[in-house]
Symmetry: D2
């Protein structure tokens, strides 16, 4: 039953992430290598609804192999929750003879893919988000590049903090997942790492700063903090400065974390997942989420993927803080 | 009279800047190459006052050739305005037989060098700040690296803005000088560049965003804005979003702009200026500021350097905006 | 029996690799966090023999968190194969009360660790080499950074090849393992990937170049080739140029592949492995090789690790070539 | 007479260089901003001859602001030396109503522009080459990025050389100009810098290596050598190794030097020169070479530009060697 798929469309949805372009490229090229015609849907589910769909046959997808963001764009489109909207999207695909769709995005995007699957479109989801918050995959497309971006930024901040004998609090993204904070903290030797599962009071923070500067003789202290934990980092920094007499500042890295040239691993895994998406569709699979588990690209039913419990970073946060403060 | 200088000390002062380490290294090595003993003063004028001065003879300064920040540290020390403080600093130098001092920093640091010169210490100032706001030099040590850092960051932000069809306002440093905003705006093709001499109202900003997105068909709009102009960029972004229906965000790059590996030009000019500082001291010069004018390393009396008028960026800001909006 | 270890030494051996410094740092800090005194052995087994061993207690290992190479140096030392040499090395450790040793390096270094284990020293091996040729670990310390370096270099080469309509052959390291070629080829979309298990004749190479340029309309063709396969790449390029009329060049990336700031993943896994090395030694384990299997840090007896068969890249090389040529 | 120019074409010629795309973009956008229609000529003079010329009106030139190489391609075309060839090229321009041409390239490309000028086409040359060998400009488009690329590569090589206590010879481009070697050597602290005007015998090289390693206690020695000086660097390295007992290697950076994202300064100056090209053409100027002199964008008659004498790097090579060996 392998050869039934004739045309595959692909879209990106949710927040952009480096590596999305590599996944799109892999789907296009693996389709071509299997005599399937690839199509690009611009602006995610919104484009699906409005019929913004073009053949990728003559598009040079190789040109995007080193480009951040998503060259087929993304957009918010809450209207997709309505059945009528989805049915129009389905019709748009069928009108063009497209029987399968690859969706790259986060949990919300997966839900859209599941609902289209229930309407009869063959769908596969790929985990695309820098936040590493998709539990059905060991890591997500975008995560490795964002980690490298944060590491680079924190090291620039370390230069200044060392020069001026300071405490710097740096807020990073994560959308509820502490992985970006936890592992960028490990990678940079941040003396303080704060994730959702292991937070600290401002008094505790001041205590560590005091200890690191005055007891351990550190020239500077860096705290990496997951977003959405503290309402105002600058206030905490002001408190720490007052308590410790160490000049203290706070900042957020914000939008620099989402863009940028994809790292080598990003490209490799995004490409491997894109290849697998086509392979699975060829096998007739649908309603599945692709992910990396134990260094292997595997598939899970989307419904199951959405219910997978999130691992807590509590123990690791404690352990890495201990290491970095030693 | 050339050979009178036996020992030269060096310090960094004010905000850290990439390339400071290359200037320090050049002073140390050019001193050694001329049989002069080099000394490092840690923590700027504060270290000079407290006698935190060590011979650089056995310090491997080459190790810092690619390192951001300043490895001899910097510190605020307003007490240096008092004569008594400066006299103690002078005594610290004389006690160690040091007759000359190289100061790397901004205008405030130059003033300290001038006052020490008036006390009889031979002093030379080098322009060290990312802000490019020292009028006696075509550019300052740190400026080129900071420009590259901003360009990198803005391009990451562009990826996300393109993906999501957005307007992004990015605040950059400059400390009253618009050069970082102006030239990073030119380098990245930012559709809006705002410097102190050529600002825009929020209404005007909204107008450009509307034109670029809806008339010119741009996928995204970036504004690069000098610091200290608007009290709250996020409010302006909210206004623009309301007026244009283009999703709009604002952020500041903050401390990532000051650190980082020095660029090639940074190292080259910092090294050339460091060499020249030693050469001038050998010639008996003192109370001078070193800078680059017309691609040449030259010296100006510090008092004159401090009075040089700042060039206005008004005409260039208008011109570059016109180009980038074309 | 946990607390018997009082002092742990660490050395790096074989070719240097980014991330080695992070592993050293992790061993030092995890030791300190567990009240074990860490020692650094300079220049690998050579330093062990000559007693070049110092306490790391007062060494600021955090300073090397972003530094390539190995700050405790490496050296060739074939003399370590002799029993007398190893016994002196053992004595040097025992004299200083050091009862455990962590060795970071490749297979040859592991053998040294095994032999010391047989002499009664508790030893643990960490996989440190850019070549990813240690079969007991899914990847080695240094591999991810080298991949990123190759990707960056190939993209620069792509710029020139695109501009001038050329075929470029790029030789990369690997020491018999094709992983660097295979995965950098996947990451960059190299039209030709050649690994030891799947080579091509010059006639076949010319055929692909012809097809890609004249049939597929590619502006340039890149071949990534593992080292030690062809005696002279430039001759092959000359042949291809003659046969295809496409200007063809060949070059080797050589030593730029081994150095450089460690990537985020490099630091993370090197640190996790370094932590685990101390944890295992605390548990009384010895003669073991640490590696990453299925995203987990695990231990294997060194003798078993050295015998693990190498996976063939043949099928993947074929598959990735097909994708990139599609 | 200002408004006579209605259409301007642009081409890139000779070796590609980062920043060429920024110059092309600036010409296009400055033309648009002045109601002039811009045209792109693909593949340099070859495309001019074959009529490969398209309007840039609807091409998104902003997309290339951060891209290396030249997106309008380059090609060798010695046939342009023949008058008949040039007359056909001229006719191609006139047929499309194009009365002015901007040429980005090196000396050879300038000569082509001069000959077209003599045929009545208004021409302006911009200095595009990484080699910095165009004497009518203080620096060329591509030079700054290539310098940064070399500095990055040399620092990776330094990591390995330090780890293994080695001497490494690194050959860099320059095409007869020593600037890339000279200034990358200054920027990286290379112990040996060899330019065309100041070479060393292998005996002298061995002497410096011996002194730096055994007297100065350096862990490694790097030599940066301009291309085309020694027939075989590997032989020299072998000689040095034999004489000094320091393991010695040699390599060439080759094609990685020409590609890559343009640096901030590259983009800025390429853009300023591109703007000026249009401004000069609007003023009716022709047969001129644009360059940067004393931090200002200026024009010189091409014939004069081609005759400007090259400055010798001899004294600077000696001076920088002395500094780096101190």
């Amino acid at each position: 039953m392998e050869t039934k798929i004739k045309k595959i469309a692909i879209l990106t949805s949710g927040g952009d992430a480096p590596g999305m372009n590599n996944a799109v490229r892999a789907v296009v090229k693996q389709a071509l290598a299997n005599d399937i015609e690839p199509f690009l849907v611009y602006e995610g589910y919104k484009g699906l609804y409005y019929g913004n769909i073009v053949s990728a046959k003559n598009i040079n997808v190789d040109a995007y192999v080193s480009k951040g963001g998503t060259f087929i764009y993304s957009a918010r489109f809450p209207e997709f929750k309505e059945l009528k909207t989805r049915e129009k999207a389905k019709d748009n695909l069928l009108k063009m003879g497209i029987d399968a769709l690859v969706v790259i995005g986060g949990d919300g995007s997966y839900m859209g893919a599941q609902l289209l699957h229930e309407l009869g479109i063959k769908t596969v989801g790929l985990p695309g988000t820098i936040d590493n918050d998709i539990t059905s995959s060991d890591f997500t497309i975008g995560y490795d590049t964002a980690l490298n971006t944060i590491v680079d930024a924190v090291e620039k901040i370390r230069d200044t903090s060392d020069s001026h004998n300071r405490f710097l609090m740096v807020e990073v993204m994560g959308h509820g997942s502490g992985d970006l904070a936890l592992y960028s903290g490990l990678a940079t030797g941040a003396e303080i790492i704060i994730t959702n599962e292991q937070t600290m009071t401002k008094e505790e923070i001041a205590e560590v700063v005091k200890n690191q500067i005055y007891e351990k003789g550190k020239r500077s202290v860096i705290a990496i903090v997951s977003e959405f934990i503290y309402p105002n980092l600058k206030e905490i920094a002001a408190y720490v400065q007052e308590k410790t007499n160490v000049i203290s500042r706070a900042m957020a890295l914000e939008y620099i974390q989402r863009g940028g040239r994809p790292s080598a691993q990003e490209r490799i895994w995004a490409t491997l997942m894109g290849i697998k998406a086509v392979d699975f569709l060829k096998e007739g699979k649908s309603g599945i989420a692709i992910g990396v588990t134990n260094s292997d690209v595997v598939a899970t039913p989307i419904l199951k993927a959405l219910q997978a419990p999130r691992k807590s970073n509590k123990a690791k946060t404690i352990k890495f803080n201990k290491l970095n403060q030693a």
